[in-house]
């Protein structure tokens, strides 16, 4: 498996990354071209038709030049301080740890729920509404509880409770939902042909779950894991912001800082956005890699 993963990384992943970079360059060009176009217009008639109002303003405050954004990476908040790129890098690592825990916890909870919901119509009807309700409650209503709870002395745990774990709890709250919903769909996806086959063997529910429903749901689950991995990263970022995690500098904290000083240094918010984006892509990419490896080995790959 290790070797397989590596091989995939070598071929498909490299191609993938190259395409991504090509699109990145295209995007940067489009950004610059749009900015130049807007500025040319500015010089003549700013309010011409709707360019003035509908599209983002093109001045350097609202659309800092690409080079400014890039060079900002090497700068630091104060003379001799840590550069932004190194701050972002350690921030991303910090946030990824939170996201990873959130992903694992959320996926497990989501899977358990999916299995429960897939059991019977009654279970689905009784439990599904609560899953929905849980998602409709905005994080702002639960963060205080989670934070308090994290601050209480969870002494009985074999490990010490850290504030970042509260962030993971919050992020996992966003994570389990797509896994549960797509998971149910996947667990119910086997054809009646396969289910009847299993029934004809007098297979137990557990066997059917394990040998039919679970493998058949893999393509669905990986889609869900993609959603969940992304949700875990953004949940960790948002969680950091809303709990104001101390004792560490995650991406969320950085982005919050950057957003607050947007007026002064718009480039920095772009740094934050780029940092968050790359972190999200990294998480997503990991899932894609695992998906390719597993689905290739079970022949359930839908493309490539």
């Amino acid at each position: 498996m290790g070797k397989k993963l590596f091989l995939l990384l070598n071929k498909a992943a490299v191609r993938r990354i190259l395409i991504f970079i090509a699109f990145l360059v295209l995007l940067a060009l489009a950004y610059t071209a749009y900015k130049a176009f807007g500025q040319a217009l500015d010089d003549r008639q700013r309010d011409w038709w709707f360019i003035g109002s509908f599209f983002p303003r093109t001045d350097d405050r609202n659309m800092p030049p690409i080079l400014d954004i890039l060079s900002e990476f090497g700068k630091s908040p104060r003379i001799g301080g840590e550069t932004y790129i190194s701050q972002l890098f350690s921030g991303a690592l910090f946030t990824l740890r939170e996201a990873f825990v959130a992903f694992v916890v959320g996926s497990i909870v989501g899977l358990v729920l999916a299995v429960l919901l897939a059991q019977s119509k009654l279970a689905e009807r009784g439990v599904m509404p609560w899953v929905i309700v849980s998602q409709t409650i905005p994080l702002i209503a639960i963060t205080p509880l989670v934070v308090l709870w994290g601050q209480a002395n969870l002494d009985f745990l074999p490990w010490e409770w850290k504030t970042w774990m509260s962030v993971s709890v919050i992020a996992s709250y966003l994570t389990f939902f797509p896994v549960a919903v797509n998971g149910v769909r996947g667990l119910l996806s086997p054809s009646s042909e396969h289910l009847e086959l299993m029934q004809s063997y007098g297979a137990s529910r557990v066997s059917i779950l394990w040998k039919i429903r679970f493998p058949a749901s893999l393509p669905f689950l990986f889609t869900a894991f993609k959603l969940a991995a992304t949700a875990a990263v953004v949940g960790a970022i948002v969680g950091e912001i809303s709990t104001g995690v101390s004792g560490g500098q995650g991406l969320g904290k950085l982005i919050f800082e950057f957003a607050r000083t947007y007026a002064a240094a718009p480039e920095r918010l772009y740094l934050g956005v780029i940092g968050a984006g790359i972190t999200g892509l990294f998480a997503f990419g990991l899932i894609v890699l695992v998906e390719k490896t597993i689905l290739n080995s079970t022949g359930q790959q839908i493309r490539e």
């Binding site: 054809s191 042909e193 396969h194 009847e196 086959l197 299993m198 029934q199 004809s200 063997y201 007098g202 297979a203 066997s207 040998k211 039919i212 493998p215 058949a216 893999l218 079970t298 022949g299 359930q300």
Partner: protein, 258 residues
Amino acid sequence: MEVVSISNLSKIFNTGKDNEVEALREIDLTVTKGEFIALIGPSGCGKSTMLRLIGGLIPITSGELSVNGKTPTKAREERDYGMAFQSAGLLEWRTARKNIELPLELMGWSKAERIKRANEMLELVQLGEFARSRPAELSGGMQQRVAIGRALSFNPALLLMDEPFGALDEMTREHMQDQLLDICHKTESTVIFVTHSIPEAVFLSTRVVVMSPRPGQISSIVETNLRAGDNTADNTKIRNDERFYKKVTEVREALYGK
């Protein structure tokens, strides 16, 4: 010993809806241990439905049906059945061998035993080389053979087979017929076997049950029993025997009228 006993069995799909279909009407049939029943009848007359009823996969509408003195559901749970469906129904994420291992896994065989048996079965269906292929890489007939291997792998007491040899050429088909008979005699299985081939029905069976078009009813039952209990009988001889041709004609007449 009665293995399957059916009396006054009817099956209606979509009762009360505008697409109601009366699939089976007042079926009576008793199958005793060791019998090989061939079920024959025009397309859509309810053969598959009958197998699925006996297998306890769909509920009966009215009448009575018991398998080994139990309800079909009970019998199913006690693993009395081996079924081969009309379509192969392989698990696409498993290799051919792993597909054959499926029922063995469920019955708790050890890994070594499973592999041994699966390989035997693959040889039996002449697919030894394709053990590691996935269903999508097999031809239609090869898939069907894997499904047969799977149904036979665990020596079920009651075999329900729905046109298992439909996609095979004559030669392979004859080979499979011989193998099936061999296994059934060895394990004393009872078989209910749907086919569209009259010679196949006659060759394999002890009795041929002939069904009439929708609503499916049993129009006649032809005693064939060319082997008359002699399991060592030479199959080639039987296929060329005059009694064989006579029975084929008899079944054809029962089916289509003179």
